[in-house]
Symmetry: C2
Subunit: 143 residues, 2 copies
DNA sequence: TTTTAATCAGACAATTTAATCTGATTTGAA
DNA sequence: TTCAAATCAGATTAAATTGTCTGATTAAAA
């Protein structure tokens, strides 16, 4: 196993990207997200609940309830979701698992991995998710 | 959780890097590796057993037995160890968890992640582990 | 030959992550 | 007011990963 994001985080990212393709006021039931993205309903529901606490989504109870983004997609970056679900720890720990890895006491790949880590962070934080609307829609259509 | 390598793989990489700092004929008991790298003895023993099957290390039973590299460090790359333990799947799957992610149907970060993935692969495959001797020794000394 | 120190093998336990189930609560609409 | 459809909350299960234990086997050295 070699992952980057946990399943929870992958699901969360997909769900938020999906919600960003919809009208900002549109309330999205967990069931719809579940169907469109092929994620177990209760699982995505739980993930979105936790993102509610992080202030990224809002939930509306009762009939015709569901989830909606708490902010406009132009204010949300992928890194916000990653931080809320997986945390940012991996951006600060040694990829080979050595303790206290730093430029003073680098592991054999410290320098190269450091560069990649910065690039990965940039990938997640340079653009807001309103830019991803079209690609997300194409992706969901064919799944 | 956001990882790159599994713990198993981290431990395996560390152990092989450590063994590469020693004389090629030197047989290294699991206990020594365990102590030096702070990895549970039975766990690293299991990992090295599986690397024996992959042809990366050899084991010698009985008194004064232990593990040694099956090839010279100048013939071993980090990617060999990663492949044997974690496999190379993550270098071919979508980082956001979408199915069938390709340049024809890219996920929102397909292009950027593709670049990073290539760089990560290069990091693991461009140099053989004999080059890492000094840095590994420094790393183990301070742990 | 006996002792000792090591791997090997495989069952077992603990932890973490992923997913499911159930029931209470909320709320819009008939 | 009642019903239906949704979230919410928390317990439970399942699966994967990580780590441990025990006993058999091997082989060097006393």
């Amino acid at each position: 196993m070699t992952v980057f994001f946990s399943k929870k985080c992958e699901h969360g990212l997909q769900a938020i990207l999906f919600m960003a393709t919809k009208d900002i006021e549109c309330v999205c039931p967990a069931e719809e997200i579940s169907n469109k993205l092929n994620i177990p309903k209760e699982f995505i529901s739980k993930i979105l609940q936790s993102l509610t606490e992080s202030g990224i989504v809002e939930s509306k109870k009762g009939k015709s309830g569901g989830f909606k983004l708490a902010k406009h997609p132009s204010k949300i970056k992928l890194i916000d979701i990653v931080e809320a679900i997986d945390g940012l720890e991996s951006f600060n720990t040694c990829v080979l698992g050595f303790s206290e890895c730093s430029s003073k006491n680098p592991c054999p790949v410290h320098h190269q991995w450091g560069e990649l880590r910065v690039k990965a962070y940039e990938m997640l934080s340079s653009e807001t998710i309103d830019k991803f609307k079209e690609k997300t829609l194409n992706k969901i259509k064919i799944i």
